[in-house]
Each structure stands twice: as structure tokens, then as C-alpha cells.
């Protein structure tokens, strides 16, 4: 009987193709948006996690300032401090560096300025003052030339990213050439291997980076360059949490017993990221839920139309012995099939859309099976919830009145 109902429902839906499609549209849009957004979020989460983990999962990050919520989870983009200091000093760097258990410590100091080669400029480039350990901590690889070394402390040398080489020098290996930053000449020492970038990542895009020694950056900035971020890698076997707490202690006393910095392990960074993403996902899911609601109302509407259109059919069925619950079942199944078809179409469309997104952007959405199953399940639920009222209406029709519609 159920199989027969599904078959009949499908025939009924097919007999009014356009109407059925337009009715499904609400569900389709809802499912497409949910699946796309959730898989985008999932994909971004994975990409960020992959990128963060690629630099080593034991790195501890020190950032100036604390957000008004003291937990890392409340951060919307690190670096936006609502309280505390705006930057770190080289004294902070020294404190972090001397913390017990810290093996390699790297300062990040963004220097304002537009690099120039002859008459070409590259305003998108970010200039960082850093040290020789950066390559090891962030696991950056040099494709051509060498990275900064300890001996370079006070030399005007630079290691540049792939994009900088291409855009500024218009060649792949501009080693030995010079570029101008704030009218100072810098000798190019090395070119970094191309790195993958991902959206929403808090890490800078090293393809557009120009790395110079920190003391040089300080003198460029007039003696003291503010540090935006300090990264430290613990010695083997030392847990990052221990380093985090030790640094926190030391900076607390160094800053006159003030908690004015944020110190994060990679785990903290990840959870901050996923918090942002899940907030975003929840928001879009709410929008999608509204779309599904509208889709459901559409289904209810069309089912009511179908019930009054097919009153005669209901009469015939009742006359030959259909019980009320059998009529109810028939129309309920029809609503569910309609909604389920919308859900399946929506999932297919979302998968297609994800391929398009992968091709056109650097996002890598990941359509997961649970998301598909949940969407399909929700569309079935929509069919049941919004199909029940029309089905009850059909079931309650008086056979005589229903048959009368035929003649």
C-alpha cells in the first residue's frame, strides 16, 4: 500500500511538473543554503586547522591586549584588543625568549611602507621584522637563496614571498637585486616557496610578505618597532600549555601585575576559529530554516489545492472502500514525496555548487554525509508537518459531497 502510495504520489507530482517544481523551490533553496553553508564552514574549519597544524601544533602565540571576554572563545579576529596594550615591546620578546622551555622565539613586527623596485610598487605586500628562527617555527621553506641568518641582524636584507617576486621584480628568482622600503635599499636574499592560503586564517599570507631582520625594522620605524605577535616553539617534550602559563606569569609581573596580553596555544586558536565559524553557521542555518518554513507553507498550499482539485478522486476512492486513514496516508505521502524530492534536488544542487565554489575560489567546501542525511531528514519532516493538515482535510471529506464534484 505504501509503495502504491509513493507511486501514485510520484505520478501526481509528474502530472503537474511545473507546479510541483515551483512548490519544491522553497525546500530546494533551504536545503541548498544549509548544505552549502555548513560544508563551507566545515571546509574552512579543516583548511584553517590544516594550515595551523602545518606550522606545528605546539606553537604558543602571544598577542597584545585582551578581548573584553577573557576567554579565547570570544575573539572575533585576533589582534582586535578591547583592553590592554596595543603592542608588545622587545622587552616582552626577551621575556618570552627567556622563558624556561621555550626553544625558538620569533617576533612579528609589521612595518608600514610600500616596497618599490624602480618605478614599480606593490602596496599589497606586508613587511615584517622578524628573526632567523621564523622559518623553523612556521616551517616555511625557501625555494631560492637562503633565509635570514643570525649574522644578518643589522643588515638590510630581505626574504620575499612568491607574489612579491612576481609582481615587484617580474621574475622568479630576483636574488641579488634590491628593493626600496622607505627609501632604504634591501638586498633580496631568498624567495619563499609558495604557501597555500585559506580564508578566515589568522596567519598572514606569506606569498605577499617581505621579511627583514627585526633590528633593521626597528630602526626603520625610528628606533623601536612595536611587535604585533610573538611566536614561540617549546623544547621537545614540553607541553605548550606549560609554556603558555609560564609566559603568562612572567608577563603579568613584568607589566606590573596586569593581565594585558593574550597567550594562545594552537588549540586555543583553533577553538576560537571554530567558534566564529559555528556562530556564522548558526546564523545562516536560521536563515535556511526560514526558507524551509516558507517552502513548507508552499507545500501545504499546493496540497490544499490538490485536495480540492481531486475531491472527486477522493470520493471514488472512498466509495470503493478507502478508509479515512488510507486517504490521509495517500496525501501525506504525496506531500512527503514532494518535499523529499525538493530535498534531494537541493542536495544535488548544493554538491554541484560546491564544485563551482572549489573552482572559482580558494575555498574548499566539504560536503559531509551527516549534513546530507540531516537535510534529507529535515525535508521529510517538512513534508509531514506541512502535509498533515491538507491530508486530514482530504480524509475528512464526506464521500457524497466528494462524489458530487464529479458530475
Amino acid at each position: 500500500m505504501f509503495k502504491g502510495n509513493v507511486k501514485m504520489a510520484w505520478a501526481a507530482i509528474k502530472s503537474a511538473r511545473w507546479r510541483s517544481f515551483l512548490t519544491m523551490l522553497g525546500v530546494i533553496i533551504g536545503v541548498v543554503s544549509v548544505v552549502t553553508i555548513v560544508s563551507l564552514g566545515e571546509g574552512v574549519k579543516r583548511q584553517v586547522a590544516g594550515q595551523i597544524n602545518s606550522i606545528g601544533d605546539d606553537i604558543v602565540t602571544v598577542l597584545p591586549g585582551v578581548s573584553s571576554q577573557s576567554t579565547a572563545g570570544g575573539l572575533i579576529g585576533q589582534g582586535i584588543a578591547t583592553r590592554g596594550t596595543q603592542s608588545l615591546s622587545d622587552r616582552d620578546y626577551a621575556i618570552v625568549d627567556q622563558t624556561e622551555g621555550a626553544a625558538l622565539t620569533v617576533p612579528f613586527s609589521a612595518v608600514s611602507g610600500v616596497p618599490q623596485v624602480e618605478s614599480r610598487t606593490y602596496p599589497e605586500a606586508t613587511i615584517f621584522g622578524t628573526n632567523q628562527d621564523m622559518a623553523a617555527v612556521l616551517q616555511l621553506k625557501v625555494e631560492y637563496g637562503v633565509f635570514l641568518s643570525e649574522a644578518d641582524q643589522n643588515r638590510q636584507v630581505a626574504v620575499i614571498g612568491k607574489s612579491v617576486a612576481e609582481k615587484l621584480f617580474q621574475e622568479n628568482v630576483p636574488i641579488g637585486r634590491t628593493l626600496k622600503i622607505r627609501d632604504q635599499d634591501f638586498l633580496v636574499r631568498g624567495v619563499l616557496e609558495e604557501t597555500k592560503t585559506s580564508p578566515l586564517s589568522t596567519l598572514p599570507n606569506y606569498n605577499q610578505a617581505i621579511l627583514i631582520p627585526y633590528p633593521v625594522a626597528a630602526s626603520l620605524a625610528g628606533g623601536n618597532a612595536p611587535i604585533n605577535q610573538i611566536l614561540t616553539k617549546p623544547r621537545d617534550g614540553v607541553p605548550p600549555e606549560q609554556i603558555r602559563d609560564a609566559i603568562s606569569q612572567r608577563l603579568y609581573f613584568a607589566h606590573g601585575k596586569q593581565n594585558d596580553v593574550t597567550i594562545l596555544t594552537q588549540e586555543d586558536v583553533l577553538s576560537a576559529n571554530s567558534d566564529i565559524l559555528s556562530l556564522l553557521t548558526q546564523l545562516i542555518t536560521a536563515v535556511a530554516a526560514v526558507s524551509l518554513l516558507v517552502g513548507g507553507i508552499g507545500i501545504m498550499n499546493i496540497m490544499l489545492v490538490a485536495v480540492s482539485e481531486r475531491t472527486g478522486e477522493i470520493g471514488i476512492r472512498k466509495a470503493i472502500g478507502a478508509t479515512n486513514s488510507q486517504i490521509l496516508g495517500q496525501f501525506l505521502v504525496e506531500a512527503v514525496v514532494l518535499s523529499l524530492a525538493g530535498g534531494i534536488l537541493g542536495v544535488l544542487l548544493a554538491i554541484a555548487l560546491n564544485f563551482v565554489i572549489r573552482i572559482l575560489t580558494n575555498l574548499q567546501p566539504a560536503v559531509s554525509l551527516p549534513v546530507i542525511l540531516i537535510s534529507v531528514g529535515v525535508s521529510v519532516l517538512v513534508g509531514i508537518v506541512f502535509g498533515i493538515a491538507p491530508a486530514v482535510k482530504a480524509a475528512r471529506k464526506h464521500p457524497i459531497d466528494a462524489l458530487r464534484q464529479l458530475s
Binding site: A319, I320, N324, Q326
Partner: protein, 292 residues
């Protein structure tokens, strides 16, 4: 025990001043194996009576016993099951489901009984063969002629081996040739021991009945048993409502003429000719009426 027993059954429609009486204190007993033709002008309550007997509707007053059991206390679902298992409906406009093919239409009542598809299609195929339409199994209703559609409807009505066949003007939309096929089928069903109730406007069709019930304004005005093959005189009269000359009246005039004119043989032949033609003429009028 009577198969169908109606005691003082009334059916009212509307409220207060607007109340109309569709049936007024009907008493009717139908035994198993009868072929009852119900005649009467439009709006006399024939169809309402059929709907009550067929459990599609409930009487306002009075009691209805089907096989000795009162149906008043049956719940909606139980009524549906009685309709499904004991009653077969045949409608004037066939009432096949347009989206289902012929065999599915025939098998539908079995589906409501929960029979598996293979078994019900097998049985439907058997019944289609019985009504002579086995080569039309996978046609859609719209691809059939009216007569064929009604044959399919009869197969559907028979599929559950019902005790009662209720036919509401089964030939009302058919030409005379198709009507004949349909009536022969109904007659065959009757001869197999089934009870048939048929509403008709066409006095010709009472030929197949064992009993004719005449209705007028919601009441049974006459009820007569008859032999199969005969058309009661009353049936001819009631169809046209007002008094009209019957064939007998015509013949009386002709016989008066015959007495005065010589060469009687030729005239007798003319009368014979007329006699055989006349019913056909009336038949045509009746079926046109039925279509309205």
C-alpha cells in the same frame, strides 16, 4: 433474513425553513439474489436511496439493517470496510481514476484491503478477462470508449466479490450498443446469484430486473415483482412523468381503424413493424435524457 432492510428511513437536507425531504419514511426489503430496478423522475430520491444503501450516506431517521446487522452504529472506517468488501458501485460517469491504467483501477479496492500487488493484479486481470477487456489492461481510462470504461468499472465493482452491486444509471452515458453489453454483464452477475440494485431512467432496462420500484418525491409509490424479459407498462408511463399515450393506446386506435378498412393483412404488418420499431425510438429518447 433479508439482505437489505430499510424501516421508516428518511433523509432530510438543510435546516429550518430550507429543509428538503429527499426520502420520506421509506420501507424496503430486498432479498439476496434480486435484481431491483429503481425508477422515477429526476430528484425523486433514487440516488439518495442508493447512497444510503451503499453506506456512502447515513439516514436522518429510521433504521437500516444490512444482512441483519444495523449499520447505524458503524464507525466511519467500518463503513468504509463494508463498502470495500460487500458493495460494488457502478456510476453513470464510470468514475475511473484517470491517472491509473485500467488494471490498476480494477485492482484498487484490493489495494485498500492490503493485498500484495502481484496477487491483486492477477485477480484484476482475471476480472478484466471476465468482462472481455483483457487486451486493454494497460490502457488509460481516457483511451477507452464509454462502454469499455463502464466494463472496467464493473470489473472493479466485482473484484471483491461483493454481495450487492449498486448501479446508478450505468448506461446513462452510453449508446444503445454499449448499453446492451453493460446490461448483459449486469444480468450475468445477477444470474450468478448476486443482488443488483440499479437506478435507471430507461424503461427498456427494466427488462433485466426481477423487481421494479417506482419512486416519486422521496417516496416509493409502487413496487412490483416481475419476470425477467418483460417490461412493465407502468415503467413506460413513469418515465415521461405526465400521462402519455402508451403503445396500447396507439394500438387501440389502429385496431379501430382496421375494422373499417379492408386489406387487413397489410395493416397488420404495418402494426407489427411499428411495434418493433417503437421501443427503440423511446430508448433513444431515454438515453438522451439520461445524459442531462
Amino acid at each position: 433474513m433479508a439482505l437489505i432492510q430499510l424501516n421508516d428511513v428518511s433523509k432530510l437536507y438543510g435546516l429550518g425553513d430550507a429543509t428538503t425531504v429527499a426520502l420520506e419514511e421509506i420501507n424496503l426489503t430486498i432479498e439476496k439474489g434480486e435484481f431491483v430496478a429503481v425508477m422515477g423522475p429526476s430528484g425523486c430520491g433514487k440516488s439518495t436511496l442508493m447512497n444510503l444503501i451503499g453506506l456512502l450516506d447515513q439516514p436522518t431517521h429510521g433504521s437500516y439493517h444490512l444482512s441483519g446487522r444495523s449499520v447505524a452504529k458503524l464507525r466511519t472506517n467500518q463503513r468504509a470496510k463494508v463498502r470495500r468488501d460487500k458493495i460494488g458501485f457502478i456510476f453513470q460517469s464510470f468514475n475511473l481514476l484517470p491517472r491509473l491504467v485500467v488494471i490498476e483501477n480494477v485492482a484498487l479496492p484490493l489495494a485498500y484491503r492490503g493485498m500484495t500487488q502481484t496477487r491483486r493484479l492477477k485477480r484484476a486481470s482475471m476480472l478484466l478477462a471476465q468482462v472481455g477487456l483483457q487486451d486493454r489492461e494497460y490502457y488509460l481510462p481516457k483511451q477507452l470508449s464509454g462502454g469499455q470504461a463502464q466494463q472496467v468499472a464493473i470489473a472493479r465493482a466485482l473484484i471483491n466479490n461483493p454481495e450487492i452491486i449498486i448501479a446508478d444509471e450505468p448506461t446513462g452515458n452510453l449508446d444503445s450498443a454499449s448499453s446492451r453489453v453493460v446490461m448483459e454483464l449486469l444480468s450475468e452477475i445477477h444470474q450468478n446469484g448476486n443482488t443488483v440494485l440499479m437506478v435507471t431512467h430507461n424503461p427498456e432496462l427494466t427488462r433485466y430486473a426481477t423487481r421494479v420500484v417506482y419512486m416519486h418525491d422521496g417516496m416509493i409509490v409502487h413496487d412490483e415483482q416481475k419476470q425477467i424479459g418483460k417490461i412493465p407498462a407502468r415503467a413506460r408511463k413513469i418515465i415521461f412523468g405526465q400521462h402519455q399515450k402508451t403503445e396500447e393506446d396507439d394500438l387501440a386506435g389502429v385496431s379501430a381503424l382496421m375494422k373499417t378498412i379492408p386489406g387487413q393483412d397489410t395493416i397488420k404488418k404495418a402494426v407489427k413493424k411499428r411495434r418493433s420499431r417503437k421501443p427503440a425510438k423511446k430508448h433513444a429518447v431515454a438515453s438522451r435524457r439520461g445524459k442531462k
